[in-house]
Subunit: 570 residues, 2 copies
């Protein structure tokens, strides 16, 4: 949902690609134009060479005279202000020199916009796309102008072996994270402001990354599509991130930190034009003013999703799905889920939790929870909490009645009824706790509501009366998911050796067991699936998404307030 730049910009900021044409539409200026279009930019294009190609290979190349390449650049740049430029296949030394000359002429008296140089040398299918003597021209004339260059493993090996001086040039095979980092630093010395060394042709295990990081404390790390912290409720149904093979890209900057970008490796043949797509998306992001690191993060995520949501085409390596930011998700349903979301089966809930990870953490790892896990929570606080929670559950079950009243399908109505019955059982547990701690049923029923309880309870009823079923579902989520998270977190922590969580003799053991137990966790799973289905079946507009997000945030805050109330006896 954050992959489009439409919401930020008017249509039409123009960008330019200088590259070859791919008749089959998956790479070259075609991939660039599709990427620009999907990302809300206006695409212009200077063609450096025509290729007759398809998903299997390159069947022919027709070169374009250097003077005509420069003429195309003049026509565009004399008339249209472009905010970023990318170069791809440059074919030969003459064209490469003409491109450098064209840029110098156009920007002799004005500031040049960001330039992304994708040093395309050989196609995935093995076809030479840049004559060997042109590599020198590219390095000497274009790299110094480039904001960023984006070599893959084999391009980096070729460039390092050719241009690096001293010992690092010997044996330019890149086969480790250390090797990638050295190569990227070597290439940075050739003049660009940044180097993104792409690791798509290298498989790295999570374990290797974990071993590498401690010896490089200065590196920044960006994880994309890998489950974050405080998401035990998702972890139980997803692959453990520790078991996933990763792709690692390394960004070295002349000014700014070196960053590792980690994401799960995708098993896909839809990779034709991956490099073109990434550099085109980079140009869009730099053109709208992103920092280099932000632009890389954006472009890599866009490209990754393009592979993840592609449908096979042709006999060989098919194209990416360039249009995913603007396609309704209902269309993506036609892509098998195993391909689509293999590493992210709960994209919406994941996004929801990540969107206010701080408040979520303050809620699910609240002092109340920690003291409860240690068994040190005061009896008064717990009793105060249980009494108020009992009162809250009345609001919460009524809200599910309202959700039933707002539903259209019998299974949705029945699902609400089942949750109401579940809450009834939960409230019986509260009564039992109270009895155990000396609170009579009469005292429980006559307990005055605390402001924190009224605020939260009345808020979800109000949301239910004001909005539709989807917004109410959002208001009900923080309680359901958060208590599930707390239960699983305490359980996992308790299982560690010498854990701070004490189960033995803990007066609150039953509470921990109830929320980490099968019955409650089943309800959490059903809830997560219902929320995912809601978002997938009727993808929200940006405005609705913001409404949902605000409701979610408000409820996590109210949950935190509820536990503050218990601690403070307020």
């Amino acid at each position: 949902m954050s992959l489009s730049i439409h919401s930020k910009d008017a249509p039409g900021p123009a960008v330019m690609t200088i590259a070859g044409s791919d008749s089959s539409g998956g790479a070259g200026i075609q991939a660039d134009l599709k990427t620009f279009t999907a990302l809300g930019c206006y695409g212009t294009s200077v063609i450096t060479a025509l290729t007759a190609q398809n998903t299997v290979g390159v069947q022919g190349v027709h070169s374009v005279p250097p003077a005509f390449v420069e003429q195309q650049m003049r026509s565009v740049l004399d008339d249209i202000k472009v905010v970023a430029i990318k170069t791809g296949m440059l074919s030969d030394a003459g064209v490469t020199a003409a491109v450098a000359q064209g840029l110098r002429t156009a920007y002799s008296s004005s500031h040049m916009p960001p330039l992304v140089c994708d040093p395309v040398c050989v196609s995935t299918s093995g076809h030479t796309l840049l004559q060997p003597d042109a590599v020198d021209t590219m390095v000497h004339l274009l790299f110094p102008l480039a904001t960023i260059i984006t070599p893959n493993k084999s391009e980096a090996e070729l460039l390092v072996s050719r241009f690096a001086s001293g010992k690092s040039s010997a044996g330019a095979i890149i086969d480790s994270l250390e090797g990638m980092l050295n190569a990227a630093q070597t290439l940075l010395a050739l003049g660009p402001r940044a180097v993104l060394l792409k690791g798509g042709h290298l498989t790295v295990s999570s374990a290797e990354v974990e071993m590498f990081l401690p010896s490089h404390p200065d590196l920044s790390v960006e994880r994309d599509g890998i489950l974050g912290p405080n998401m035990e409720i998702l972890l139980v149904t997803e692959e453990d991130p520790a078991d996933i093979d990763l792709v690692v890209d390394i960004l070295c900057q002349y000014e700014g930190p070196t960053t590792l970008f980690l994401r799960p490796r995708l098993d896909s043949t839809s990779t034709h034009g991956t490099g073109c797509t990434l550099s085109a998306a980079l140009a869009c992001a730099l053109g709208r003013g992103d920092t280099i690191a932000d632009a890389v993060k954006f472009a890599a995520a866009y490209t990754h999703q393009g592979i993840a949501t592609a449908v096979p085409m042709g006999q060989g390596h098919g194209p990416l799905n360039h249009m995913h930011p603007v396609l309704p998700r209902s269309v993506l349903k036609q892509v098998p889920p195993s391909v689509r979301w293999r590493h992210n089966p709960h994209p919406f809930v994941r996004m929801l939790i990540q969107t206010n990870a701080d408040v979520w953490k303050q809620y699910v790892q609240h002092d109340f929870v920690r003291q409860l896990g240690q068994g040190t929570l005061s009896r008064e606080s717990f009793v105060h909490f249980i009494k108020q929670d009992y009162l809250y559950l009345k609001y919460y079950s009524r809200a599910h009645g309202l959700l039933a009243a707002k539903s259209s399908e019998f299974d949705e109505i029945a699902s609400s009824a089942e949750i109401i019955l579940h809450i009834a059982r939960e409230s019986a547990m509260h009564k039992q706790f109270c009895a155990q701690w000396g609170v009579s049923p009469e005292e429980l029923e006559n307990t005055p509501e605390s402001p924190a309880c009224t605020a939260y309870g009345a808020y979800i009823i109000d949301i239910g009366l004001r909005g539709d079923a989807s917004r109410l579902l959002m208001a009900l989520a923080a309680c359901l998911l958060g208590y599930g998270e707390v239960g699983l977190w305490l359980k996992r922590e308790a299982a560690r050796p010498e854990s701070w969580v004490k189960l033995e003799g803990n007066p609150y053991l039953k509470w921990i067991e109830d929320y980490s137990g099968e019955d409650y966790q089943r309800a959490v799973k059903v809830g997560i699936e219902r929320i995912e289905a809601m978002a997938a079946n009727d993808p929200p507009s940006l405005k609705r998404l913001e409404e949902w997000r605000l409701v979610w945030e408000k409820c996590t805050l109210l949950e935190k307030g509820f536990w503050d109330m218990a601690i403070n006896m307020s």
Copy 2:
């Protein structure tokens, strides 16, 4: 909202363009690829020539050898199944012959997909894009293969003067609808299955069209963006369609009716690549299986919107906005409304009424309304109606209370309150009517509700309780807008000479005056603006749009049922 084919098809049905490259990105394969992408198709491209051009003109052309054009076609068609093909600039006779040969080779043993041939000869800026001797080659080799050819005025003139036999060839200037029709029929004889003669370079008045049509009773007529019947409520704030200059395209088919496509002329310089865009959209629509007439309707509407929503770019004729089907409308807000919706300031309400025009007509031109206008309605029916309408208004005002409760902004809440006060005045009018017709306040208050009244009243309350404010607004619209329409229609009909509507001595004159009067019509206008703002500020997903539409349809049916009830005394 009907301009995308995403909702119908999975991403990826491949289409192919065979055309020139426009470095500035507004025409040629660039316009085609952007159109394909925006319409959810996967674009492949065979480049016939490179141009160095911009919005001002063509600065250079680099030709491509015919053999390499054929090689590109082979690479694509050997590997990827395309569902439609379009041709644009073919440059010279060699390339044109190679394209024909390429098609024959690829489809020697299989059925050729739909072929759209845009007979590009000269650029808008006056540059020759097809050598004169190549015109013969195109006509003889490609036209017979074409599903449809799409000449503009000057291309049609050139083709008619060259190929027509007999008297019609003399003086090939096309300057009237009659001339267009003759030229299209002449071109049809050259072998394509259909001819779309584009009238963008000819301005036609509505009056000219109205004079032309009666003498051609066999012609079908498609109106797009021109206010339809039974929309008096919109007409009062919009330009009278009779005063609008039109663009007329004529479609002649080998099999099938001849159709005139009418739409308002746009005053815009964003027209670079209009013909490329239209033919590319045609290919998409034919590729998904549309009939020729449906495909033309779709492609013309897409192109028209592309011009209407474009933002100026470059020093000359800028490109269209190809992305409008997938851009959030919030982005379109940055396009000045005068440019955007000059001829369609109320796109959503217009669409709503058109979506079930039949039921809408049965409602607003109901027998009850006709008899009321004639003054022949039975006293019993009217009294029965007024009593039930009085009861209905209680539901209706309560529903506005509910709308206030569901609103977020003070002005929305206040607006609901004002409407409630308006309804209170309306109900006082009902009491007055009743008194006048001998019904006491006690009798009125104690009238049992008819099933039609309960159905309608309870339905809007139910929608209000179930959904959000937007759905409730939909449920409230049919009553507000329909009575406004009825009032204006009766008033306009009454103004005609020898009208069937009798105002003089009509016992229901006050009713007619109330609903056609300023006070009520002001409420209608406010209501229309609020609905438009709702749809523009948070454009619905296809699923929500369908929900809204169903509520609107249900309410127009319930309104019709209400008047059935009055007539039948049920």
